[in-house]
């Protein structure tokens, strides 16, 4: 536990020792604000909720999270520090979890800084803050799932660009699975149960319910399972290829 705290602190402070973290957070906030207020007709809808804000999250995360996760392992491999890290008295599991939680904490910080949205909507109307809170929880869980995928992909390569592109592609598929465009196409030749199965793998399907204020244990379980699976994959990949 102590080891994990030490690794977690190093990773998280690593984000802030370079300007990268600040640039990231800045653009994340600008993008979120711009998309919500300009493209999603936040005012015109005349409703006091953050639905237009949360609807953008899967798409913003699609590029934002892989940009964070791409360096997690690829950078350690490229610079050779993986050899240093893996010969310190820490286990691989501790290293994987610490890196993941540090990245997740960084995303949580960026997400928390969108609080003016909440203030705005509370100023303009009388929103259901419970629904908003649920939206934030769902958003953070979804970000964790993206991050676990990105972390596992980053473990495969020493090239950050490849890690980024492949992560975006996989995350895009995970979003796509739930879009009507996809379910209509697969619905043409697959039985209904399988179509449901594909759609149930989608980040969107599970996120939509949560942003409407319904925190279903199955949605939480879905995101936690995605994180678990990809982090285990991450550890297995590292165990077998760390020295390559």
């Amino acid at each position: 536990m102590r080891n994990m705290m030490v690794l977690f602190r190093r990773e998280l402070s690593g984000y802030f020792t370079t300007p990268v973290a600040y640039v990231f957070i800045f653009f994340f906030l600008v993008l979120m604000g711009g998309l919500t207020f300009n493209l999603a007709n936040f005012y015109e809808r005349g409703q006091a909720d953050l639905q237009p804000f949360f609807n953008w999250h899967p798409w913003v995360y699609l590029f934002f999270v892989p940009a964070i996760s791409m360096r997690l392992w690829a950078e350690e491999r490229r610079s050779g520090t993986i050899e240093l890290l893996m010969t310190l008295p820490v286990t691989l599991g501790q290293a994987v979890l610490s890196k993941f939680f540090a990245g997740w904490a960084f995303i949580a910080i960026a997400l928390a800084l969108t609080f003016p949205m909440v203030l705005t909507v509370n100023h303009l109307g009388d929103p259901d803050n419970g629904v908003i809170a649920a939206g934030y929880v769902g958003s953070l869980l979804m970000a964790g799932a993206y991050l676990a995928i990105g972390s596992a992909v980053s473990a495969i390569t020493r090239n950050q660009v490849i890690a980024f592109v492949v992560s975006v592609a996989i995350c895009f598929l995970m979003i796509l699975a739930g879009l009507p465009a996809v379910s209509d196409v697969v619905g043409g030749f697959l039985p209904h149960a399988l179509v449901q199965g594909v759609a149930s793998l989608s980040f969107l399907t599970h996120f939509d319910a949560v942003t409407k204020g319904v925190i279903d244990a199955r949605d939480i379980l879905f995101y936690v399972s995605v994180m678990g699976c990809f982090l285990v994959a991450n550890a297995i990949v590292m165990a077998y290829t760390k020295a390559d």
Partner: protein, 317 residues
């Protein structure tokens, strides 16, 4: 007591390539083992297996009795390791980095501060403690790497090319540091600088094509050189022919090589027959014949020759 480092029948294959082939050795406390070999001979691969970074295809590696693959944490706690190229986190400062290492090694409070202060002193880092590692010179980076390896005062120290990229003064300092620590530890260092073996090691292993070809002391290694116990002398050019003739008559001399030197001097290299000492005989002859010598000394043997012979010989076999 068991040796602090025990390597038994260690092999590593990468596909069809055998990088390390059935290597066994052990190192006791107080020994400094110099690991020599041409590039690609398997030095780093062996060290990576010894430190538990790379799983071996065959064999075992033990550090202070702990198998590095069965009890990795116990072994890693006893081990200080400077990987090849001294990889470090470039965005951190040496102060931040050593703080991280001390935390992960389980130190806190006053003990952490004194340990960090001590290694910073030992490797001469104070001036750059708060600059990003990225901006440091190669020499300073290497010293930060060394500081991280010795911070917990490990029983076993594994250093992969610790002096690579350092200037002669820095090399000297690092060697002194290694010597000063050697009594209490078992140290393995790899190098392709032969003088380093002479300067710090109590024992050398030469590895070529993944196999151990020699395991002996540096002195024994030098004794394998055809130049071992050879005598060099320099005389003025006007005496050269007389001296050449005289040297040829000395008992036990195998061969005399004559080399023109500068400042009107001629150098001779007198190679003895195997196992013969000719220095005294040469000196006696010089006194009897009244040679005016500008230089006279015995050669310990040339490590580079032995190295070349052993490593290229193995390649042919």
């Amino acid at each position: 007591m068991a040796a602090m480092i025990e390597i038994q029948n260690l092999s590593k294959r990468f596909g069809p390539i055998t990088a390390v082939d059935d290597v066994s050795f052990s190192v006791d406390r107080g020994e400094v083992l110099g690991f020599l070999g041409p590039n690609g001979a398997g030095k780093s691969t062996t060290m990576k297996m010894l430190t538990g970074f790379l799983p071996p295809t065959h064999g075992t590696a033990r550090v202070c009795g702990h198998d590095v693959f069965r009890e990795p944490l116990a072994a890693k706690r006893k081990l200080g390791y400077l990987p090849e190229g001294a990889p470090l986190y470039p965005d951190m400062t040496p102060a931040g980095f050593l703080d991280f290492i001390a935390d992960i090694r389980g130190y806190s409070g006053a003990e952490k501060r004194t340990r960090i202060a001590r290694v910073v002193e030992e490797v001469h880092l104070p001036s750059v403690l708060h600059q990003p590692i990225d901006t440091l010179s190669k020499g300073f980076k290497r010293r930060v790497g060394l500081a991280q390896a010795i911070l917990h005062d490990p029983d076993v120290l594994v250093l992969d090319e610790p002096t690579d990229g350092l200037d002669p003064n820095q090399k000297h300092e690092v060697r002194q540091l290694i010597r000063s620590m050697s009594a209490k530890k078992a140290i393995v260092l790899s190098t392709h600088i032969l003088e380093e073996v002479d300067a710090v090691c109590t024992r050398t292993i030469i590895i070529a094509k993944g196999k151990v070809v020699v395991d002996c002391t540096p002195a024994q290694l030098a004794a394998k050189s055809p130049h071992h116990d050879a005598v060099t002398l320099a005389v003025g050019v006007e005496q050269a022919d007389r001296v050449a003739a005289g040297l040829g008559e000395i008992e036990g001399v195998q061969q005399v090589e004559r080399m023109a030197g500068d400042n009107g001097l001629v150098h001779f290299l007198v190679l003895p027959r195997t196992g013969q000492q000719v220095l005294r005989a040469v000196g006696k002859r010089a006194r009897e014949d009244g040679w005016e010598l500008d230089e006279l000394h015995a050669e310990a043997g040339r490590l580079d020759e032995v190295f070349r012979e052993l490593t290229t010989g193995a390649a042919d076999a």
